[in-house]
């Protein structure tokens, strides 16, 4: 299939249109705008106040894919930011310094509120303190306690609900001038759950052999609407239905993975991947996989904006605020390492993968600190080999194509060897 055909995929076109429309809305000057983070975002709640949802991480990704993030990061470093810290933050701060232009070419308005959903990552807290310096706008914090014992406790849930009631909702009412209507929220949550059902169906199709989809490189597109400004909308429902039909079509035709460069060809390796992708060389990175016949059948990154398959979470209109609390508590990086190990090991078994590949991100401690142990534990539990590559999110200085390619090639060889040896349960040194 040619590149042209890929672009013609109906769901992709729809998503492109949705994203463009959201940027137009944000930059229109006609709506109130909130900046907020992807993990644990409260899109349905913001919709109750007609507030548009702008996500700095997504802006950083957009800029990275357009090869603009490197200069932005340097700009932030010139203004006193350390080389060592999260590059999303620096890409965002550098973007401000360079005029704060949205992907549609129009300037981003200053946010009316910074909604600090402090879940999954400590850096978020500092990031919004830094943005507040610039925008001097209200910042409302929703602290989501870390699920350090593997599951949310009643105290955690109660705390979040109380913050929603006493901090977040009153602030949003004040900023928007709109009174909170819980029934409106219920309606949005009902829609979220509907889209989430199709999303989980989609995730699980990669159990098939060959897998009709790639759940990492392709997955980041599939997750787009549910992770961002569309959860709770009719558009998201339509998008996931359309995606479902497209995938079903591929299954019916016995097709494997579709890549930006066409059909992948024979599926030789099935991998589970942990960690975010590199965005500055995204296509090049993906190519290293599909050229080798490697498909990612499950990834942790597609759970970073919410985990729906592992313990069947769905937004619940009957318990609206509690359900938002559970959603926030359950995002992948808010879960402790033993739970992450369990999720990945289960993925390897259930999706019959050949092993775990970790893309360790230099500037993201939330994912990266602990990954070496995580890899060894998953190896122990599954008997399948793990491997490690190191890149960065949006800083082009830290993507070494030759190194990554070498690592991947030796990993694939290792899998081959293991297959020849009959797949005994040895672990890597």
């Amino acid at each position: 299939m040619s590149q042209q055909d890929v672009i013609k995929s109906r769901s992709m076109l729809l998503q492109k249109e949705m994203i463009a429309r959201n940027y137009d809305k944000i930059t229109s000057g006609e709506v109130k705008v909130s900046s907020t983070f992807v993990p644990g975002n409260l899109n349905e709640l913001l919709m109750c106040f007609d507030i548009a949802n702008n996500l700095p991480e997504i802006n950083a990704i957009q800029n990275a894919m357009r090869k603009k993030s490197g200069e932005m990061i340097m700009e932030a470093e010139r203004s006193g930011h350390s080389e060592d810290v999260c590059t999303y933050v620096k890409a965002d701060i550098g973007m401000m310094a360079k005029g704060n232009i949205a992907p549609n070419g129009k300037p981003f308005p200053d946010p009316d509120v910074l909604l600090l959903s402090y879940t999954g990552c400590f850096t978020f807290l500092k990031w919004f303190e830094l943005l507040r310096e610039q925008y001097k706008c209200p910042t409302v914090m929703l602290q989501v306690p870390y699920s350090a014992d593997g599951q949310p406790t009643k105290n955690h849930r109660d705390y979040i609900v109380k913050q929603l009631k006493e901090e977040v909702i009153p602030t949003l009412e004040k900023i928007s001038g709109i009174k909170f209507d819980i029934d409106r929220l219920r309606e949005y949550l009902r829609k979220s759950a509907k889209a989430e059902d199709d999303l989980v169906w989609m995730l699980e199709q990669s159990k098939r052999k060959p897998s009709p989809i790639d759940c990492y490189f392709g997955g980041v597109y599939y997750m787009g609407p549910i992770f961002t400004a569309f959860r709770g909308t009719d558009e998201a429902i339509t998008y996931y239905q359309m995606l479902r039909e497209e995938i079903q079509e591929r299954i019916d035709k016995g097709l494997g993975v579709q890549t930006p460069e066409g059909e992948m060809g024979e599926e030789k390796y099935r991998l589970v991947v942990e960690g975010p992708p590199n965005w500055t060389s995204f296509r090049e990175f993906w190519k290293m996989f599909h050229e080798a016949g490697a498909v990612v059948v499950a990834s942790s990154y597609t759970k970073v904006g919410g985990v729906y398959d592992y313990d069947n979470f769905r937004h619940d209109p009957d318990h609206p605020l509690e359900s938002l609390a559970d959603y926030c508590l359950g995002v992948y990086t808010n879960r402790n390492l033993p739970t992450r190990v369990d999720m990945l090991a289960r993925n390897i078994k259930e999706y019959e993968a050949d092993g775990l590949l970790i893309n360790s991100i230099k500037s993201c401690n939330s994912f990266s600190a602990g990954q070496l142990v995580l890899m060894r534990e998953v190896e122990k539990l599954t008997g399948k080999p793990g491997a490690f590559v190191e890149t960065d999110l949006v800083d082009p200085r830290y993507f070494s194509a030759a190194n990554v390619k070498n690592r991947l090639e030796s990993y694939f060889q290792m899998i081959d060897q293991k297959r020849r040896a009959g797949g005994s349960a040895t672990t890597l040194a």
């Binding site: 350390s82 406790t153 705390y159 901090e167 992450r340 142990v373």
Partner: protein, 391 residues
């Protein structure tokens, strides 16, 4: 011990500092059957509750400059700060085998995940990631925090096989109030007469407090202050600086020495914040858990670990410290790869710039070896401050 000289006290503390087998804590544990030791990474945990359980809170600050990290590097990539790897090294080489449980403060993602590593590697140990509120209202963050404290209390009761009574809690609150008062006295003393209480000594004295029971540590500080006062030490023409950013992974002792040798008296710092986190005495009447919770909410230091909910509030603690300690400037000393310290820094820097307070920034690792560049940097800084203040 009150007749001891400064040298004896400092040698004693240095011995504790260098002893990576934690012999003092082991001796404490062996002195009575059934005693338990709870290790903690010392940014902030409520030591009062551990103490009230009859257990020894043991502050663990990584492996320092001298620990050879052999296994730890197989646990952490090179772009992660050093403290988790040297702490894991201590654990897997058996140096923490007598420690019955570990507490990890909520300060950053590295700490979060370190608590998970403990859960995976040391399955038979008590592990608690200790979350604190970032909402400072009594009825919101306060309720959450008091419940977390109660959960901690219950966990320790189960571990220790005995109830933690209110009376025991009140007593421990008193013990730590007193300890904090003396910590503050030492800091005040150093600030008033930094030539009489060099920072290396103060640092070692505080480090000893991570290992000794608080009662003994309090006594040690009393003895030190008395002994330091008896010493006749010359005053140098140093400038006065506040050091900030070193609240977690600690710099090598040589770095602290180098700063003073190069002409900077450290008149305040954020080493071992846990000893100074609460800014006022915790009341000893009423419900101790509630009291501890309120003290945290309303009377605690503003640090990178906390959300500051107003723009104006940001940096006010540092500015107040500078004013109170009559500091001429600030040294930002942060561990490499430390997100909280390094992300906080530009905001604090902008506050200093607005007030025309001189500063320099430096990064270190607990095992940084080369002090010459640091000495040159701080020496130049000290000279420029002196010049500037004369002009």
């Amino acid at each position: 011990m009150s007749a001891d000289s400064v040298k004896e006290i400092v040698d004693f503390c240095q011995g504790i500092f260098e002893d990576l087998d934690f012999t003092k804590a082991r001796e404490w544990k062996d002195a009575e059957p059934g005693r338990k030791v709870i290790g903690y990474m010392p940014v902030y945990v409520p030591r009062e509750i551990i103490h009230a359980a009859g257990m020894l809170p043991l502050g663990i600050l990584g492996g320092g400059a001298d620990l050879e990290v052999i296994h730890g590097d197989a646990f952490y990539q090179s772009y992660i700060c050093r403290i988790p790897r040297s702490t894991v090294e201590l654990a897997i080489t058996g140096k923490l085998d007598f420690v019955d449980g570990m507490m990890f403060p909520s300060i950053c993602d590295v700490m979060r995940n370190l608590s998970g590593i403990w859960q995976l590697l040391f399955k038979d140990k008590y592990v608690r990631y200790f979350d604190v509120p970032q909402n400072f209202k009594d009825e919101v963050g306060g309720v959450f925090y008091a419940n977390e404290l109660r959960e901690l209390k219950e966990g320790l009761e189960k571990l220790g096989g005995r109830e933690i009574t209110e009376e025991a809690l009140r007593h421990s609150v008193e013990v730590y109030n007193e300890n904090r008062q003396w910590v503050n006295k030492v800091y005040d003393y150093r600030s008033a007469t930094p030539w009489k209480a060099p920072s290396v000594e103060v640092y070692l004295l505080m480090r000893a407090g991570m290992v000794l029971p608080p009662e003994e540590h309090t006594q040690l500080m009393k003895d030190y202050l008395a002994a330091a006062d008896r010493e006749d030490r010359p005053m140098r023409d140093n400038c006065r600086i506040a050091l900030t950013g070193a609240f977690c992974e600690q710099p090598p002792l040589n770095l602290i020495k180098s700063l003073e040798l190069s002409g900077c008296y450290i008149v305040d710092d954020d080493f071992m914040l846990v000893t100074r986190w609460l800014l006022e005495d915790v009341p000893t009447d009423g419900d101790p858990i509630e009291n501890l919770s309120k003290a945290f909410l309303h009377h605690s230091a503003e640090t990178a670990a906390k959300f500051e909910d107003t723009v104006e509030g940001k940096g006010s603690y540092l500015l107040e410290t500078i004013r109170k300690r009559r500091a001429d400037g600030v040294i930002f000393a942060a561990p490499s790869f430390c997100d909280p310290a390094l992300l906080d820094q530009p905001m604090l820097v902008s506050r200093l710039e607005a007030h025309k307070i001189p500063y320099i920034t430096m990064q270190y690792a607990e095992n940084s070896g080369q002090m010459q560049p640091i000495r040159e940097q701080s020496g130049t800084f000290a000279d420029s401050i002196k010049l500037w203040s004369v002009a």
